[in-house]
Symmetry: C2
Subunit: 599 residues, 2 copies
């Protein structure tokens, strides 16, 4: 979801009355940022309070490469990271995640192993449908159990856009709140993904927006937020519940206009470190504590939600590691402003830094010329010469600096000769040096050396499908009783046996498809540096500890795609025609609008 | 001022608390339009309820040419037009205009000859300073009397941006409200121009905005609106006063980033018929009548303020002419939506039409390649291939159609083959045909055949400077008692004698500079078609009724500039070096941000 998607942030159709009211009753942050222009790293940052470069949610496959956790990634949230629900447990909190986890899909990364007490949702987005032979659909879990898969037990009609998922996620949230509100302090992380392409909404919302299907999805999320706030009032716990709404990255514009959101007046969108990629809508609500109708110009970060939540629970963040999140309570309760930098990373590369009103770009890049010429455009209709570059441009010697107050759209770099430039550069350089000198990067989790891991269905460690079809609580698609599910019935065989055999086939094809692009190598079920492999590694890949890339078919640095697409193209480039595409709908589907995070 | 300049429309710095509160207490229109992407035509449309093509506020000098009323334009609002204050007089209203008139500066166009009872302001923007020899500064009037000139009696410090003008205009408004509120129904047209480059603010506001000087100006306007609304409450007439805030055209982006506003997510700005050029902020406020916190998706127009105001006064619009303004009261009071088209003209050319959510472009154009290569950019950072064209592109056979709900930024034209395109085209074509068949264009008032008219200082008909320096009510610049005025003292000789001699010199140079680009010709003091000339007309110009252009030095159609700049370049092209430039700061100054209209 993008900064400009809410009425209160200027969306012209003004279709978010509940979120707008939440803003009117609370505090709005116009200068609030995700920790990354992509979903998984941003969510890992939210839950750890640490930049992805610290918690491992980045790749060293290539310089400045975006990466997330498609099914084939073996990495995930390291056990060494302390997640917000783990810490809140010390204060008696019960925690639930509803929706997309995105912090790894192999058993050791399960949310219930990282502090959550309950989970209803999926380890990944609702990409698909897949053929369930070489590649199964994404699973949906209730706690430890797989209760079905997208496009199967949880139908999504790609043609009409109908899916009941947001209603299911809403009911899960309401149910959790009702159960916990009178007994325990609780932490709900509501991570819906209806605004992530393929965009969906339930029947009562479909076709109701002036903005098309994307707007339908936004309207349903808005309506759900309204229902949750209403329940808090009804349960008389509103004045004891801190609620924050934000998003994990800017609206993806490559799916525009049908399935893309709005980043308001900002430059570009998801995948980029321009404002459109990382500035987010952000609303705080806590009746009786946060005064109504306030705007805070505090530079905020999704990582602050970690520190702020701990502070609310009377806890302090871990002292044995760097924490990037601020405690926002002084801003929320006393209207104070705290100096802090915002760091914009792509993968392992610090692309830009904002301090006060000034933003310095050390590197500029949207995507590669190759991708751009194929029609993949992260900045449709926008072109700022020398800024929205299609090659990775090094400005570290002489950064481009913008004043975000006068020029929120990053169109007019300050003159290098100006006193303002010199002053801003000096301040920012000092902060960046300090940051980089103290930085201890985490072990990169999002490198790609194997694309047939699919841990969610792998052998004995893998999940078990519940024996009966899951019936969503209180939400059944209307119309044809067979529902949109039927559309994919022929393409998506169901059930445990097929899943297992698909898994076997996937395992069997592992080595043929294995490519090694980064400095580390992991086998299909090994941990970093301790690979366990079947058969012989393919040419150019080795089993062993991290080492510099020596892979066949490696792409030049800076092709601008997350691992998934790149792998696909590499697979083709090393002469493996007929390899099933990771996403049958092409690379666009792996790069689209993120879900909104709400917790 | 642009659509995106108010906090309530999403401006990230959120520096308009008074306007935002006005919206919260009243009704916000996200789909409200000016009648033209330039100031004079839009203001003429506001006061007549008629499109500029009807009321004469356009030029036939060239196809699709923007034009306004610089000092040298002899045209103005025709006597045949019935202005809102003229009509309101029938219902006992007393009317005042504060600020920029812009409907002609020759004696017959004086606002007090067109229904206003009072005027404090200027016939034009605050361009300058000029040399007061070949070209005097723009005068400021109180009613019939010239009370001074910008940069002289009304100083504007271009270096610091300091000017007390908005404070003066505020005091004039407050004074008028106080005087009238208890005795007569009143109509106040508050037409400030602080956000028009050169942008200014008074000392208490200078340097207070995160957005730079433009933001300072916006903050002062916002503060002034707050004071006016407060006074209405204090006088207990708030529930009997309808207040509307809007702007006359989108933010001019060529003065970005220092002196430009924001058009939010929309394409381009002033001078263009993309949404950024004509979609405006619009707030209606009438406590006790318009319910608080409403949003109306009614397609609205600045011309509706004419019809709506008449309806509020119990009057009907003239029946002997076409009126384009709708009565918005059903939208304001009952939340109704009325079907209506929005027509986007440049000069004599219907560029685009919006009906419902669909906008069809019949012509696309920003400015000429020639201008663009000189760095004049109406769409900085934006480039939509085939849409933001630098030649006037004819799409009349196959219009480009956008869905403004899904694609407010006009980036993705609908597929010509789609059913949606066909349906929208059919609806829009029908409405446009009806419009064009019934259209009777007015006599064009903004053609340029002479650029030494300067009626505001010409001989016996001209204004008289009051003998003593005007002291603004309750607002004196702080600091150096000589004030910023001193900076220009040497360049700007003052007083009646110099003005008169400058006038004589200007008169003397009339013929040498005269060029004729249009189908009509006017002498320095003649009315259209009845020119009275000194000496012989220059080659290519004739005295007489309108006829096709046969001028020397005419520019090719589509150079993208209003008359002023074009004239300047024509003068050079016919071999007259040394002609003083109309604006010493170059063409940018004649194309910048418009003022906000409030009435």
């Amino acid at each position: 979801m993008g900064w400009g998607d809410l009425g209160v942030y200027g969306e012209p159709s003004r279709e978010t009355p509940n979120l707008d009211r939440m803003a009117a009753e609370g505090m709005l942050f116009p200068n609030f940022y995700s920790a990354n222009p992509l979903c998984s790293p941003s969510r890992a940052a939210l839950l750890t309070g640490r930049l992805p470069i610290r918690n491992g949610f980045y790749t060293t496959n290539a310089h400045a490469r975006n990466a997330y956790t498609p099914q084939e990634i073996v990495g995930g949230i390291p056990d060494s990271e302390q997640l917000l629900p783990e810490l809140l447990k010390k204060a008696g909190y019960v925690s639930k995640i509803v929706g997309k986890w995105h912090l790894g899909h192999r058993p050791q990364f399960h949310p219930l192993k990282h502090g959550f007490d309950e989970w209803f949702g999926s380890p990944n987005c609702h990409f698909g449908p897949y053929d369930n032979k070489a590649r199964p659909n994404i699973p949906v879990y209730r706690d430890w159990e797989m209760v079905g898969r997208y496009y199967e037990e949880f139908p999504i009609n790609l043609k009409t856009g109908e899916a009941n998922l947001t209603q299911i996620y809403l009911q899960e949230a309401l149910d959790f709140i009702k159960r916990q509100a009178r007994h325990h302090p609780f932490f709900l992380y509501w991570a819906v993904d209806a605004t992530h392409a393929p965009v969906y909404a339930s029947k009562p919302f479909l076709g109701t927006s002036q903005r098309g299907r994307y707007g339908d999805a936004v309207r349903e999320i808005d309506d759900s937020v309204g229902k949750m706030l209403e329940l808090l009032h009804d349960l008389h716990v509103a004045d004891n519940t801190f609620v924050f709404f934000t998003s994990d990255n800017g609206a993806a514009l490559i799916s525009a206009p049908e399935q893309a959101g709005s980043n308001g007046p900002f430059l570009c969108g998801k995948q980029t470190t321009f404002e459109g990629g990382m500035r987010e809508p952000a609303l705080a609500w806590w009746p009786g504590h946060i005064a109504a109708g306030q705007v805070s110009h505090q530079l905020g970060s999704i990582m602050d939600l970690f520190t702020t939540s701990l502070a609310l629970a009377g806890l302090t963040p871990p002292r044995d590691r760097a924490i990037d999140g601020l405690n926002l309570l002084p801003a929320l309760l006393q209207g104070r402003l705290m100096d802090r930098p915002v760091f914009y990373y792509r993968g392992d590369t610090l692309m830009a830094t904002t301090l006060g009103q000034h933003k310095a770009h050390f590197w500029t890049w949207t995507n590669s010329w190759e991708n751009f010429r194929q029609g993949i455009d992260f900045c449709p209709g926008q072109n700022v010469s020398g800024v929205t570059t299609h090659s990775l441009e090094d400005h570290t010697k002489l950064p481009l600096i913008f004043h975000l107050g006068r020029d929120p759209g990053e169109r007019f770099p300050l003159s290098f000769a100006s006193a303002e430039y010199q002053e801003a550069l000096s301040r920012i350089t000092s902060v960046v040096q300090q940051h980089q000198e103290a930085l201890v990067p985490g072990q990169p989790q999002l490198n790609v050396c194997n694309w047939a891991v699919m841990g969610h269905l792998a052998g004995p460690e893998g999940p078990r499908l519940l024996p009966r079809r899951h019936r969503p609580p209180g939400a059944t698609p209307e119309g044809d009783p067979r529902g949109p599910h039927r559309l994919h019935r022929r393409r998506v065989p169901r059930g445990r046996i097929q899943g297992a055999s698909a898994s076997a086939r996937a395992e069997g094809s592992t080595w043929a498809l294995r490519v090694c692009l980064g400095e580390g190598f992991w086998g299909p079920s090994g941990a970093p540096g301790r690979a366990r492999c079947l058969g012989s590694p393919p040419k150019g890949c080795e089993v062993g500890p991290p080492r510099p890339p020596r892979c066949a078919g490696a792409l030049p640095a800076g092709s601008g795609f997350p691992a998934q697409d790149r792998r696909d193209r590499v697979a083709r480039s090393v002469g493996l025609p007929g390899v099933p595409k990771l996403n049958p709908r092409g690379p666009a589907a792996s790069l689209l609008v993120p879900s909104a995070s709400w917790y």
